[in-house]
Structure formats: structure tokens, C-alpha cells
């Protein structure tokens, strides 16, 4: 029904650590809401230290898939293993940094207080929390606004704070749902360079996007459409496979021929 391109590990990135299981391992995962199938039979493996992008139109099931991997939602069928553990697992959540599509922040609290709150959720001890707080704030360029109540933040600032919260406890796996929406180009570049730096240090990153040039910077991307993973591979592979010169074109050719 669909063509799966290179559904195994990408050889392009070559970053997968030999040790242990892949960071994310999905087997025949499905999810439906009110009888309507949102995800169908998704198989996907993401290696440790990989920067993986999920690309797809809104409503295609990206966020649902991400929530399943983060262990917030439960699949109806199939098996999910993350960092060598069966999902859902409470202990696993300590190793995951999650950033939802909507900015889930406490408007009455300042940026710093939001970070402190989530730091406590991960049981970061005082000295480490203070140090990580500074680091996370400076990564997203919010150091000078740390004391402001979040209710007065712009949309972009909230997005950045959400990202800072996801980075706070230095998780092994970062799951970011549309991390750069509403962020201006200059800051987007700086956020991307921090993401790349995190990957260099071995953090596995799974993100969703519909910005094509962001997809181009991922080690591998997965194209998702109407709940089905239609293609998985490095940007170069996908372009070659579809004979397209841009990811955008490849996306249309690989995903669109279904109907």
C-alpha cells in the first residue's frame, strides 16, 4: 500500500552507538480516537544520537506519534521501546525531555519559577538546578527575561521557554513537537546550532516540523501522511529515491501518490 524506503537504520548519519538497543523502536504501532484511525501500523527505529525529523501536514498524526513515544498516550496495538525500556514507564520519563506543541506554561509564574518547578519534578538538586537553569535560559536567549511573568511573554518567547524546560534536566532523548514555530529566523538558527551541539554530545533528538529546510538538517527524516509512515531515510536518500531536487518535492512525490 505504501512504500517504505529504508525503514531500518539510516547509514547516512552513522551516529548510532553500537551499545544497546536503538533509542526508539516502534513495532506495528496503531492508535485511533473514537473509532477513527489516526496511526496505522507504524514501524520505526531511531538510533542513539540521531537527529530525526518527522515531516507531515497537520492532522497527519505527528503529535499523536510523538505522545505515544513520550509515554503520555498509550498505543492500541504494537510495541514501543524507548532507550531499551518498554513504554510507558515512569523511570523512562526522567530521561526524556518533552516539548509539546502548545506552550504548556504557568502564566502567573516567572520564567525562572516555571523552570524551577519543572526542575523539582525531575528532582534536580539545588546547585545543579541553578547551573542548569542558567544554561537552559542562555541557550534559548531568555536570560534577561528570567524574572518576568510568562503571561507577558510573546509567543516566540513562550516557545523558547518551553524548549528550555525540555533541555533543563539534560535528557538522553529530546522529543520536540514543532520546536521552532513562531521563532524568528535569527533565533531559529541559534536554536538549531544548540540542537546540533546536543546531538554531538550524544543526545537523541526527535522533532516534528513542517519547515522543509529544517528537515534538510536532520540525519534522517520520516514522512508521515494520514497516519502512515510513507518514507524514512536521510534527506539525500529521499531525494534520490524520488528523483526530486528538494525535500519539499520529495515529500509530495513520496507521500502524495497514495490517492
Amino acid at each position: 500500500m505504501t512504500r517504505i524506503v529504508n525503514s531500518g537504520m539510516g547509514d547516512g548519519g552513522g551516529r548510532m552507538s553500537d551499545a544497546g538497543e536503538p533509542a526508539i523502536d516502534l513495532e506495528r504501532v496503531g492508535r485511533s480516537f473514537d473509532g477513527r484511525s489516526i496511526l496505522k501500523d507504524v514501524n520505526l527505529r531511531i538510533g542513539r544520537g540521531e537527529l530525526f525529523g518527522l515531516l507531515g501536514p497537520s492532522g497527519s498524526g505527528k503529535s499523536t506519534l510523538i505522545k505515544l513515544i513520550a509515554g503520555i498516550d498509550k498505543p492500541e496495538g504494537g510495541r514501543i521501546r524507548v532507550l531499551g525500556r518498554q513504554v510507558p514507564s515512569l523511570a523512562l520519563l526522567s530521561n526524556i525531555g518533552y516539548m509539546a506543541q502548545s506552550d504548556a506554561l504557568y502564566g502567573e509564574l516567572s520564567a525562572k519559577e516555571n523552570l524551577q518547578f519543572f526542575g523539582a519534578m525531575f528532582k534536580l538538586p539545588g546547585a545543579r538546578l541553578a547551573e542548569r537553569l542558567e544554561a537552559a535560559l542562555s541557550t534559548v536567549g531568555l536570560s534577561s527575561d528570567a524574572g518576568k511573568p510568562v503571561a507577558r511573554f510573546s509567543g516566540g518567547m513562550k516557545r523558547r521557554l518551553s524548549l528550555a524546560i525540555a533541555l533543563l534536566h539534560e535528557p538522553e532523548l529530546l522529543i520536540l513537537d514543532e520546536p521552532t514555530v513562531g521563532i524568528d529566523p535569527v533565533l531559529r538558527v541559534s536554536i538549531w546550532s544548540s540542537l546540533l551541539a546536543l546531538r554531538e554530545r550524544g543526545t537523541t533528538i526527535l522533532l516534528t516540523t513542517h519547515v522543509m529546510d529544517e528537515a534538510d538538517r536532520c540525519d534522517r527524516i520520516g514522512l508521515i501522511r494520514e497516519g502512515t509512515l510513507t518514507a524514512v531515510g536521510s534527506p539525500a536518500e529521499l531525494k534520490a529515491e524520488s528523483g526530486a531536487s528538494t525535500i519539499e518535492e520529495a515529500f509530495i512525490r513520496l507521500g502524495g501518490e497514495k490517492r
Binding site: A70, G71, I72, D73, K74, P88, S89, L90, A91, L93, S94, I96, Y98, A100, S102, D103, A104, L105, Y106, E108, L109, E113, Q116, F117, F118, A120, M121, F122, K123, P149, I165
Partner: protein
């Protein structure tokens, strides 16, 4: 650590949301004051007509009532019928008799208080009048009687509303999902909410109780600490019930829709209204109403001066309500996260 952080966060959010804070603290006082004025409150001292009473008694009565001397029983009776008097106290064939106008329970109560004060004052005289009523009957309730239930009702109502909306907002704004993407346990979430809201529930309970007793002068013979304890338990029940029901609401508006379903029946069954005429099977519903137990305990403490032993059963039931709602909350959070 997580529970403490959650508690602190809720307190901070509360303190910065001035309007909600005002609703929690000022609104109950405002309504309670309104009720107080509507149902008479202390008002002016009662007017008692005296017929053929010794001077000692008249001057004793004057400490807490306006006393008007009448030459004959009939004259006094005429003024009583015209509602110029609240009661007539007379010596009839050597025995003291008290006739109350009786249509306003709060006035009757004031008269009875004045007379009983006189009794205590002059114990030797053994002034025990035969009490009769022109209208109504003895034991009609008034603000003093349903005031204690009102105290509990307001605590319950406002905490229910705020906790329900706060919990719902966590869900609709996505912060609940975000929170549950951290390794916090579901029982830690519920416990954190209990503590965070508990701080404000306790402050509110203290404020309402002190306002009613010390400012409005509500009749009170028991211990203020017991009142606070019962009020706190009642608000914890409201808190856990509010957060539990918010799991079944999709918007703030739907939380409001729980008011006629959950709050109003409780008001009916809480003892604010007499339930004697109710059919027995309907009467049994009272046992399902947390407010009934709270109201019963508060009334016992304030009016009958009951100690801990007298209200222990009510307290136990409220604790069971709170604990079971809290446990159900932990289960309901499964809807948000599987583990």
C-alpha cells in the same frame, strides 16, 4: 520534593491571581453578611412589655431589652398584636408568664436570651416563666441556627468551584500533559493539589469562621479550633470532589453546570431547610451529602457546644469522603497518562 514544588507553585499562582483570591476570601464574607442582614441578625434590642413586674426584674431586663410598663395584660396584648412589642412578661396569678409575638424567630430568640440572662443574674428568684407564643412555635430556626451550616456551605461552594476550574485549566492549557510528561506520580499530583489548595482552604475557613463569630456575632458556644477543623475537612472534600468532577468537564462553563447538580442539592439536604416532611427514602439521600455532615458538626459545635467526641462521627465521614475522592482522583488521572 515534587509535592512541595507543586504546593509552592499553586500558592504562587493563587497569590498572583488577585481576583480569584478575592472570590475565595471576600465573596463568602459578603454573602454571609447579606444573609445576616436579611435574616435579622442582632438588630435592635427586643421590646418587652412588662405587666405588674417587680422593679428588680424590670431593671434587670433593661440590660438587654427595651422594657415598656403596662398597667394591664389586655393593653400589653393589644400592642403585641400590633407588633409594637416582641413579647409580654407578666406575673399572672403569682407565676411569671412570657408571651412571645413569635413571627420572627430572631426576635423571639433575642427575647428568650434577655429573659434567660435575667434568670442567670438572679438565680435565687427562680424566675422560670411559662412560655407561650402568639404566632409560630418554639424552636424555629434563624440565622443563629442555620448560620453554622452557611459557613460550611460557603467554604464548600467556593473551594469546589475554584479547585474544579484550576484543575480543568491545567488540562485545557496542556500544562497537565506537560506535567505528566515528567516522572511525577499521579498520587503526587493529587497530594500537591491537596496541600496547595489546602493552604488557601484553611485560610478561607479561618476567615469565614472568625468573621461570622467575631464580626457578625453569630451564636457560638463551642471551640473555634473545632470549627476550623470541620471547615478544613469540608473544604478538602470540596477540593477533591471538584478536581474529580473536573475530569468530566470540557470547559469552565461545564464546571459551572455541576453547581445545580452537585451544590444545590447539598444545600437542600444540608440542614438549611427542615427535612422532617420529606419521604423517608428521599431522606436517606442526606447520608450521601458531605455538606450534611459538615453542617451537622458545625451546628453541634456552635449551638450545642459539642466537643470533639460529639462530632467525631461527622469528622470520620468527612475524612472518608476526602480520602475516597482523592483516591478516585488518582485513578481518574489515568485518563491523562497511562501510568
Amino acid at each position: 520534593m515534587r509535592v512541595r514544588a507543586l504546593t509552592l507553585r499553586i500558592c504562587r499562582q493563587f497569590i498572583r491571581d488577585k481576583r480569584t483570591l478575592a472570590l475565595l476570601f471576600v465573596a463568602p464574607l459578603f454573602i454571609l453578611t447579606l444573609v445576616y442582614f436579611i435574616f435579622g441578625g442582632s438588630g435592635s434590642p427586643p421590646k418587652i412589655g412588662a405587666v405588674g413586674l417587680p422593679n428588680a426584674i424590670v431593671s434587670g431586663l433593661e440590660a438587654s431589652a427595651d422594657v415598656v410598663d403596662y398597667g394591664s395584660w389586655d393593653e400589653a396584648l393589644e400592642d403585641l398584636r400590633g407588633q409594637d412589642l416582641d413579647a409580654v412578661l407578666a406575673l399572672r396569678s403569682g407565676k411569671p408568664a412570657l408571651l412571645l409575638e413569635g413571627s420572627d424567630p430572631s426576635r423571639s430568640r433575642a427575647v428568650l436570651l434577655a429573659v434567660s440572662a435575667l434568670q442567670r443574674q438572679s438565680a435565687s428568684q427562680a424566675l422560670q416563666p411559662e412560655i407561650s407564643y402568639l404566632h409560630g412555635k418554639a424552636g424555629m430556626s434563624s440565622f443563629d441556627s442555620f448560620g453554622p451550616v452557611m459557613i460550611g456551605f460557603f467554604s464548600f461552594f467556593f473551594v469546589f468551584l475554584l479547585a474544579g476550574v484550576a484543575f480543568l485549566r491545567e488540562r485545557t492549557t496542556g500544562t497537565m500533559e506537560r506535567l505528566l510528561a515528567t516522572p511525577i506520580r499521579r498520587q503526587e499530583v493529587v497530594l500537591g493539589y491537596l496541600c496547595g489548595f489546602g493552604v488557601f482552604a484553611l485560610a478561607q475557613a479561618a476567615l469565614i469562621a472568625c468573621f461570622a463569630v467575631y464580626v457578625l456575632g453569630m451564636y457560638m458556644t463551642g471551640s473555634i479550633w473545632l470549627i476550623l477543623l470541620v471547615n478544613l475537612l469540608l473544604t478538602l472534600t470540596a477540593l477533591t470532589l471538584g478536581t474529580l468532577l473536573s475530569a468530566f468537564a470540557g470547559s469552565e462553563f461545564q464546571i459551572i453546570q455541576f453547581v445545580p447538580i452537585v451544590i444545590v442539592p447539598q444545600a437542600f439536604f444540608s440542614g438549611l431547610f427542615p427535612l422532617d416532611g420529606m419521604s423517608p427514602w428521599l431522606h436517606k439521600l442526606t447520608y450521601l451529602m458531605p455538606l450534611y455532615y459538615g453542617g451537622d458538626a458545625l451546628r453541634g459545635i456552635m449551638i450545642r457546644g459539642e466537643g470533639f467526641g460529639g462530632i467525631a462521627a461527622d469528622i470520620a465521614v468527612l475524612v472518608v469522603f476526602s480520602l475516597s475522592f482523592a483516591a478516585l482522583n488518582v485513578v481518574a488521572l489515568r485518563k491523562q497518562r497511562a501510568i
